[in-house]
Amino acid sequence: MTRLTIDPITRLEGHGKIEIFLDAQGDVERTYFQVPELRGFESFCVGRPVEEMPTLTNRICGVCPEAHHLAAAKAADAVYGVTPPRAAVLLRELMYCAFYVTDHTTHFYALGGPDVIVGPDAPVADRNILGVIRKVGLEVGGRVIETRRGGHRVVELIGGRRIHPCTAVPGGMTKGITADERAEIEAIARQMLDFAAFSNELFGSLINDGPTRDLVLGDLFRHETYYSGLVDDKGRVALYDGRIRVVAPDGTEHGTYAPADYRDWIAEHVEPWTYLKFPYLKKVGWKGFVDGVDSGVYTVAPLGRLNAATGMATPRAQAEYERYFATLAPATNGHRQLVHQRGAMHWARLIEMLYAAERMLELVADPDITSPDVRAVPTQTPSEGVGTVEAPRGTLTHHYWTDSNGIVTRVNLIVGTTNNHAPIAMSIDRAARGLIRHGVVVDNGLLDRIEMAFRAYDPCFGCATHSLPGEMPLEVVIRDHGGETVGVLRRGD
C-alpha cells in the first residue's frame, strides 16, 4: 500500500493532516483527515461561576466569539430558569445578525469564496482576497473592509467590545442601546443589506462560468446526507433561537426537537485515528463514512440550514432561496429536492448574509429595541441548562451543570464544525477518489481540489484545535507500503 500524507505547514506542523492510502492498484483505499484537539476546556470551566461562562467561552478562539458568547448566555439563562426581557432578546439577535454578515463576508471574499470568484482553475496564488480585488475591483475590497468595520461597530455598541462581547448575562443584557446608537446601527444595516444584495448578484453572474459552475454543481463534492439546522415556528431558517429540524436526504422530515433534547437525537462516534468525534443521528445510527438514508451522517452550516428549513423569514432572502433551489435542485413531480452539492455552500452562505442584513433592519425598527428593560434578575436555584445558536459553521450547543450556588460542575460543548466532521472527511475522500486513478494525478491539482472540498465548509477547528492555515500551504509525502518516503510534493514545485 502507498501512503500519501498532506501536511498543512503551520506553526503546528504535523498536527493537522490528511493521509491518503492507496491500494495495490494505485486507487484510493481510505482517506484520513486528522486534526488536533485543544484539551481540557471542560475541566478549565469546572469550579467557576456559571455567569462567567459567556465571557470565558468566547475566548475559546478568535473566530466566532459572538456565537460562544450567546450560546453560553442562553445556557446560563436555562441554568437559572430565567427568561430575558424581550428587548434583551432583540439586542442579542441584532448583534448576532451583524456578526453573521461580517463573518459570511469574510468567508466569501477572503477565504473559501475566492475559489468561486476567481475561479477554481486560477493559480492558487490568485485565489485569495487579493485575487478577488483584481477580479472584481478595488471598490469591492473597500466594501469588504467597510462591512467588517460596520459589523465590529454594532458588536461594540451592543456587546460592549468590538471583538469579544461581554454584555449578555443570565437573564438578559447588562445594557441597552440609545436612540442615537439605534440610528447608527440602522445605517450600518442598510449598508450591509446593499452589500449582501450585491454579493448575491455577483454570485449569480459567476455561476454561469464553466469551471465555477462545475465546482458548485459538479458531483465531485456531492453527498446525500441528512441535514440539520435551527428553524423558527414556521420552519424557516433561524440563527439565534428556535427548534432543530432534521431532514432526510430525500427531503422528508426526520424530526424536529428542542435543542435541550439534543442527547436524544445526537450521538458521537469515535475513531482511533483522530481526537475529534463524529456526531451522528442517534435514531439512524452510525454506518461509517457513507451517504444515504441509512447513514446517520448529517450536515450543518449554510447548506444544512437551507436544506433543513422550508424557507427564509425575510422577503429578499426568500426570493434568493427560491432561485437557489430552482437552479440547483428543481422539484420533481411536485416534490421538493435538496441541494447535495457541497460547492453550493458558498451560495447558501450569501443567502444567509442577505437574511441577516434584512433581519437587522427588522430588529432595529422594533420599538422595544431601545427599551431599558434588558435584564430579568435570576431568582431560581441554578441547576442545568442548554443553550444553542446557529454558528456560521454549524449548530453550536453549550450544556452546563451547576451546583445550587451556580458553580459549574460539568460542561459539554458541541461546536459547529464538529457537526460537519464526518461530511468534511467524506468530501476530502471523494475529492481524492475522483482525482487519483491507478496511482496517477498526484499533483497540485489534487491538492487544490482537496483544499476546495475543505474550505467550502468554512471549517474552524479553533474550538477544538489551535489552528489550521488560512492559505493551507500543503506538502504531500508519498510513502510506500513500508512507510518509506518515496516522494515529496510541495505547492509551487
Binding site: C61, V63, S467, G470, M472
Partner: protein
C-alpha cells in the same frame, strides 16, 4: 487598553499583545503587554520613551489585526511561536522575518495571514504603520486550556518586556 503620552504630537506606537490568554503559553503576548502597561504607568519610564504609546491585546486573526493596525504610526507585536527553540527564547525582528512562525491566531482556517491582510490594506490605500516590529517568545504548551504558562515562558515575560521597552525608546524608523 492604556495610552501614555497621548497628547504628544510625536508618532504613536501601538504595543499589541497577541494570542489566547486561556491557552497556556499562547497567552504570553498578553502577559508581556500587561507587563509593558504596568511599567508605562510608572512615571520613571516616561522619560525613556521616543513617543506616545498605546497598549492593547487581541485574540484574533490576521484581518482583525490588520484592521487594528490601520491608522497607527508604529506597532510592536508580541506573540508566542512554536519554532522548535527552547521555550522562553525571545526574538526581535520584522514582520517579514517572523510572520510564518507567528501564532495560529494570525493564520486560522477562517482568516488570512497578517501579511496577506496587510497586502489588502496597502492595495486599498489604508494608512498602515511605517514600522512594525515583532517580539516573539518560543512556546511549549499551547493546546491545553490553562491560564498559567509553563515556567520558562513565564520567566521570559519580564525579559520580553525589556525588549519592548527598548524598542519604545527608539525613534520611529521613517520610510526613506
Amino acid at each position: 487598553m492604556c495610552s501614555v503620552g497621548a497628547t504628544d504630537d510625536r508618532p504613536v506606537t501601538l504595543v499589541l499583545g497577541l494570542g489566547n490568554p486561556i491557552l497556556g503559553d499562547d497567552g504570553v503576548g498578553w502577559r508581556v503587554a500587561e507587563e509593558v502597561e504596568r511599567r508605562l504607568i510608572t512615571a520613571p519610564w516616561l522619560g525613556c520613551l521616543a513617543g506616545p504609546v498605546e497598549v492593547d491585546r487581541l485574540a484574533v486573526g490576521g484581518l482583525a489585526i490588520m484592521e487594528r493596525l490601520v491608522g497607527q504610526q508604529r506597532a510592536v507585536l508580541i506573540d508566542a511561536v512554536l519554532d522548535g527553540r527552547p521555550p522562553g527564547t525571545i526574538a526581535v525582528g520584522t514582520l517579514a522575518e517572523t510572520d510564518s512562525r507567528l501564532s495560529g491566531h494570525l493564520d486560522s482556517a477562517h482568516d488570512a495571514t497578517l501579511n496577506a491582510a496587510l497586502d489588502v490594506a496597502v492595495r486599498l490605500g489604508a494608512p498602515l504603520p511605517d514600522e512594525i516590529r515583532v517580539v516573539t517568545v518560543s512556546a511549549r504548551r499551547v493546546l491545553e486550556f490553562d491560564e498559567h504558562m509553563t515556567r520558562p515562558v513565564a520567566d521570559a515575560v519580564s525579559r520580553a518586556a525589556d525588549e519592548v521597552m527598548a524598542l519604545l525608546g527608539q525613534p520611529v524608523a521613517m520610510p526613506a
